[in-house]
């Protein structure tokens, strides 16, 4: 009774009720983003999208949508990983040098994948309407998906093929079901390997298939409290389970046995460690990134020459993929972009030898030279992107920056949760004479294009303020007032066109990108008397992926007038057949917009 009373009293004190204000509006926004994400069924990783080549996206997406079952050479190689940048997680494959990125799943709830030994299949966990995960198998193109488990109320995940391909080890979680299991590769003959009281997960096979390494969360004792997580090894039939790593305090997770069998790589707290199977030789491979930086989710290349891992070293709390030597040297990025915090869990099929170390392309780096500088804003910035053009006056170049204010502790926050700002340097000293902010951004925030929409000889600025396979961007103008220049959001003049997302009185925003089913494009037009117009088209191909599909398009033509407002001058609906023309539909975007480059 004393415990009951104390629990009620102290839990009442400990529980801090949440404030519901604004949550309904958040739900609305979340639902809209979800709807959009579901419609966007293909496309590459958000920041890796080459937006200047919309036709390329269309062609690429159509290949995915109609993927042939016969695998091309090399399809079964690469690093499979989960991207959780948005609210959902899907699986992608990329080569270690960053090339060949392709999306495998589109359901928003897939992760924790691993390759079959011959590279012909990928096993993965998918969350369905039951809210728990089951295991599925697909081919390396993301098709031929086959269910392996169906267990309402129990989640299966972290599946790993045995070296001979005949069995799959996995973890399960659910009331009374936590543990490591093994089954035949077709999903039959499920056997629990760990004792019911042993909270164990993340199994991986020794290269000869005789043993499994896994992590164990010991049942806490009253005196020790949460005592860390340990790495254990057992025989493949569940016999002789014994710990090899665990100090009672640190969290040791997700071990992966090296192809040579002599080493096991795993995550300890926020670093990647290595240890011999007998528990000796413990070594931190990632001390260089600092104790506060996440380095985790390590896996071996097939030849054991490299390790792929996820790290937050370049994107604050969001992770990206890197490779390194098994001694922790020669860390190289795989991707330029972040892949969220949730669930990268990469798995690598293919040898690392012969893969050249990728050098970051200077043109894709967001002006690293000014990272941490304050650009005259009074605070240091990061995520700096810039465009040079005639923003303030004709024939005089100035530089428009879009940047994120650095965090108080020096890290670079994600754009979603940061003070993002536009700044204009008119004299070329990397100090802004004028600025505008904060601007709200989702996923990413960057200077995008500088078209001259009103034909006055100076450029306007398009800023990407939401990322994804469809970019959302907003329009800004630069107005001279008594010798000063102000950065002004361009609003839509009444009546606008809500069907084109141009609401009167709201800032003008456009979408760009899409896939084989839904496409958003921008084109510059010459209107009467030399006036420049902008055509914004929103199109959907119906029926989806059918031979007789047609684009059902809504096009709106807008004009930026002297009053500083964006006026809708024409709107129309039209259809045209979906063809295999590599150039894409008639309304495809050009690579420039009124002479200004689009992207990256």
């Amino acid at each position: 009774m004393a415990v009951d009373e104390r629990l009620r009293r102290e839990l009442e004190q400990a529980g801090r009720p949440a404030d519901p204000s604004g949550v309904y509006e958040d739900l609305i926004r979340r639902r809209e983003r979800r709807r959009l994400a579901r419609r966007i069924k293909a496309g590459a990783l958000a920041v890796a999208v080459a937006v200047g080549c919309i036709a390329g996206i269309v062609v690429l997406s159509r290949v995915f949508a109609r993927a042939p079952v016969e695998l091309a050479a090399g399809a079964g190689q690469g690093i499979v990983f989960g991207d959780g940048t948005g609210e959902e997680t899907d699986l992608f494959v990329v080569q270690a040098d960053g090339s060949g990125l392709r999306r495998l799943t589109h359901d928003g709830g897939s992760g924790a994948a691993s390759w079959s030994p011959d590279g012909s299949k990928i096993v993965f966990a998918r969350y369905e309407q039951t809210q728990t995960s089951d295991l599925f198998v697909m081919n390396p193109l993301g098709s031929e998906v086959t269910r392996l488990t169906e267990t309402p109320g129990i989640s299966e995940a972290e599946a790993r093929w045995s070296p001979d391909g005949s069995k799959i080890a996995f973890e399960a979680s659910g009331i009374g079901q936590d543990g490591v299991y093994v089954m035949d590769a077709n999903g039959s003959n499920v056997v629990r390997l760990t004792a019911p009281e042993m909270d164990s997960s993340s199994p991986d096979w020794s290269p000869d298939g005789s043993q499994l390494v896994f992590d164990v969360t010991p049942t806490p004792t009253a005196t020790e409290g949460p005592g860390g997580i340990e790495i254990w090894i057992m025989d493949a039939d569940g016999g002789d389970p014994h710990p090899i790593v665990g100090d009672g305090a640190s969290g040791n997770y997700e071990p992966r046995w090296s192809p040579g069998g002599d080493l096991i790589v795993f995550t300890r707290d926020r670093d990647v460690y290595i240890v011999r199977p007998d528990g000796t030789g413990l070594k931190n491979l990632t001390p260089q990134a600092g104790a506060d930086v996440y380095d985790r989710d390590a896996a071996w290349s097939s030849d054991g020459e490299r390790i792929v891992f996820a790290s937050g070293r370049t994107h604050d709390d969001a992770l990206s993929l890197f490779t390194m030597n098994p001694d922790g040297t020669d860390v190289q990025p795989v991707l330029d972009s972040a892949i969220g915090f949730c669930c990268p869990r990469p798995d690598w099929h293919g040898d690392a030898v012969g893969v050249p170390s990728p050098e970051p392309s200077p043109t894709e780096e967001p002006s690293p030279a000014v990272e941490g500088e304050d650009l005259g804003l009074g605070f240091p910035v990061c995520n700096v992107t810039s465009i040079e053009d005639e923003f303030a006056e004709p024939s005089v170049n100035s530089t428009a920056f879009v940047a994120t204010r650095m965090g108080d502790t020096g890290g670079c926050p994600q754009a979603d949760d940061a003070f993002n700002v536009i700044a204009l340097d008119m004299v070329g000293d990397r100090k802004a004479e004028t600025s505008f902010g904060p601007i709200e951004c989702t996923i990413e925030c960057r200077a995008f294009s500088s078209p001259d929409l009103d034909g006055d000889g100076t450029a306007e600025l398009l800023v990407v303020q939401s990322g994804g396979s469809v970019l959302g961007m907003r329009l800004y103008d630069f107005e001279s007032v008594d010798g000063d220049v102000a950065i002004v959001p361009v609003d839509v003049a009444p009546p606008g066109d809500p069907d084109a997302l141009l609401e009167p009185g709201e800032q003008a925003s456009f979408l760009l990108g899409g896939d084989a089913f839904e496409l958003y494009t921008l084109q510059c037009l010459s209107l009467d008397e030399g006036v420049v117009g902008l055509a914004f088209t929103l199109a959907e191909s119906l029926p989806h992926d059918a031979p007789d599909a047609e684009w059902h398009a809504h096009e709106v033509i807008v004009e930026l007038r002297d009053d500083g407002l964006l006026h809708v001058v024409n709107a129309r609906d039209f259809t045209e057949p979906v063809t295999d023309d590599p150039g894409g539909p008639s309304f495809r975007s050009d690579k420039t917009l009124c002479g200004a480059n689009l992207g990256p």
Partner: protein, 168 residues
């Protein structure tokens, strides 16, 4: 019942504040709890829009948000964050009942933690706890019994003998 704006707003102003607090007590992370409950609400809304019947929004969202906070990929993220937060609080705070009970709670196995929070904070009876967690009432009682014993030891409270044989 139909899940629409009225039902959602009513839920937000009645059940939501304490449910987020409850899930936060279970998973140790306030942001993760808010995320799980909001996600569960959104899924209920979308299901209702598709014509699916949801008998009790409170019960459905409670179960689903605990599942979301518990299961698989989200569990990994949540528990990692919880662990970091726990270590920070252990360094930054020198004691006090609130920290004691939170730490003691997070030291319990997940199912015990969930049962304790639903029983003693959300104040469901053992039958309702069982429905929310998908287990029978007898299992709820034995789970609570083990949890009480562990918490009594951890908190330095004497657990009466008969409590080990009583249901919640």
């Amino acid at each position: 019942m139909r899940v629409d704006e009225i039902a959602l707003r009513e839920f937000l102003h009645t059940a939501y504040p304490r449910l987020v607090a409850a899930v936060a007590l279970v998973c140790g992370s306030r942001p993760a709890a808010e995320d799980a409950v909001q996600e569960a609400l959104l899924r209920a809304w979308e299901r209702s829009e598709k014509g699916e019947e949801i008998e009790s929004l409170n019960a459905w969202v409670t179960t689903v948000s605990l599942n979301l906070a518990r299961s698989g990929l989200r569990r990994l993220r949540t528990e990692r964050r919880a662990r970091g937060r726990l270590q920070a609080s252990a360094v930054g705070e020198t004691g006090g009942d609130r920290v004691d009970v939170e730490r003691a709670l997070l030291a319990l196995p997940r199912r015990q933690r969930e049962a304790v929070v639903l029983r003693y904070y959300v104040q469901l009876d053992t039958r309702e706890v069982g429905r929310a967690l998908g287990i029978n009432e007898g299992t709820v009682k034995s789970t609570l019994s083990r949890a009480r014993a562990a918490l009594a030891d951890r908190l330095g409270v004497q657990e009466p003998e008969e409590a080990n044989h009583r249901g919640g």
